[in-house]
Amino acid sequence: MPDFKIQFKVFEGPMDLLLFLVKKQEVDIYEVNMSLLARQFIEYVEVMKQLDLEQAGEFIVMASTLMYIKSRELLPVNEQVEDTEDDDAADPRWDLIRRLVEFKRFKDASDDLQKLEIEREKVYTRRPGIIPIDPLPMVNQLEASIFDLVGAVNELLRRVAEREAANGEIVEDPWSVSEKIVAIRERLGQAGRLKFSGLFDGARSRGEVVATFLALLELVRLRQLMATQDDSFGEIEIIVAPVELQQITPEQPEPETVTT
């Protein structure tokens, strides 16, 4: 049986070989010619013995099973029927075929698994390097309020004032920001909320307006206060921030970019 030698490594056991032989007959497993199957199998095992292969043990067990089945089939028909009617499972022929069918199914299933494995290898899972949140529309959620804006102006003013002072001009500032912080806190402590425009009632000079802005800005920055607005064009109101907001550490301002 030269073709067996060629195929040798393919057979991973007696079931594998049996299946191969069934396929060679080109019939349904249930229609297989058991005598032919047994003969070819035994021939194969003979070749194995000659080659002194380890697995032979399992093949020899199967060979004897096949011999047994073959011998039963040689019995007169009436004796066969008697046996198969009430105890189908005990019929070694059916038992073998059942095992073959099952084995074949698993072999097919393993082919399916292999296909899945190959497909899976071609599939790439999206793993974005960063969380890509749409950058443009974030503009609409800028957390910059009018206070930030005015605060920026004021800081600028102060810096310019320092510059002027360095140049020898003396700038008087009778209004301290810390005083104004205390004042705003007091007023809010009583009322709970305050209209933005009301903050500047009674301001007597530019310096006082500036100091009040700065104070307000500082409180907003520290998140002790919040500015709210009912709608985009409504009056801004200042309220005491909820406690959990106050606990957020304020962000550090970004360092200035400097061009040379």
Binding site: E12, D87, D88, A89, S110, K122, V123, I133
Partner: protein, 229 residues
């Protein structure tokens, strides 16, 4: 804003596949961590079923859109994956996937038996395959495709083997129900285990009293990976 949109955005942006549990945790935590007027609380208490249903709807929508990627659930974790056609470019872009060597035929066969018949002892596997499987089983355990999942109630208390989470990931399966022809192979198993078939039919002699207690056909949803073949 619909729940499924939120889930889509999360799965789309996440750096790893997300389980339903993780998604629910995120839905729950977001309003807690954002003391805000943002209306993130609406779905804070979404049930697992609601989340799963939304994800399934998304899967269908994406399959229908027929893009170069799709939403997939692998081993219970949801992720966006590209379709296989584009593998060459992605391999050059991302690099070849680091993978252990492909499974051998005996290994695949043994694995198939375990996958369909779990929990199963080594002796039972050997009965089906007709050969000893010590080495193969050991290899599969080492590759974390199977694991010991108990002991059989039999003399010597042999170990029972079952597949792992990694098994599902390796083959890109949503769950064991997605195994090809799962019903057929399981059914044979049940009948062999219970009683011999009384009368043999032409196709399968062993196919009668369906004892499918452990099958759960309602859970099967199999249409999800057909679209992109």
């Amino acid at each position: 804003m619909e729940l499924k949109q939120i889930l889509e955005a999360i799965v789309f942006s996440a750096q790893k596949p997300m389980s339903i549990g993780e998604l629910r945790t995120l839905l729950r935590d977001t309003p807690e961590k954002l003391p805000d007027e943002l209306q993130t609380g609406e779905y804070a208490k979404a049930t697992a079923r609601a989340v799963e249903k939304a994800l399934e709807e998304l899967t269908v929508e994406h399959d229908a859109a027929n893009r170069s990627y799709r939403l997939a659930c692998v081993g219970g974790n949801w992720q966006f994956v590209t379709k296989p056609d584009f593998a060459p470019w992605l391999q050059v872009l991302v690099g070849a996937k680091p993978r252990p060597p492909k499974l051998s035929h005996p290994a695949l066969e043994t694995l198939a038996i375990i996958a369909y018949r779990q929990p199963i002892t080594r002796a039972e596997i050997e009965q089906i395959r007709g050969v000893a499987v010590d080495g193969v089983v050991q290899t599969l355990v080492e590759r974390e495709l199977i694991e010991v999942c108990g002991e059989a109630d039999a003399p010597g208390r042999p170990r029972l083997y079952g597949t792992t989470q990694f098994f599902l990931e390796h083959f890109g399966l949503k769950g064991l129900d997605e195994l090809p022809a799962a019903d057929e192979l399981r059914r044979i198993h049940v009948e062999l285990a219970t009683a011999p078939a009384a009368d043999s039919q032409e196709e399968l002699p062993l196919d009668n009293e369906a004892n499918e207690a452990d099958d759960d056909p309602d859970e099967v949803d199999d249409d999800e990976d057909e679209g992109d073949k």
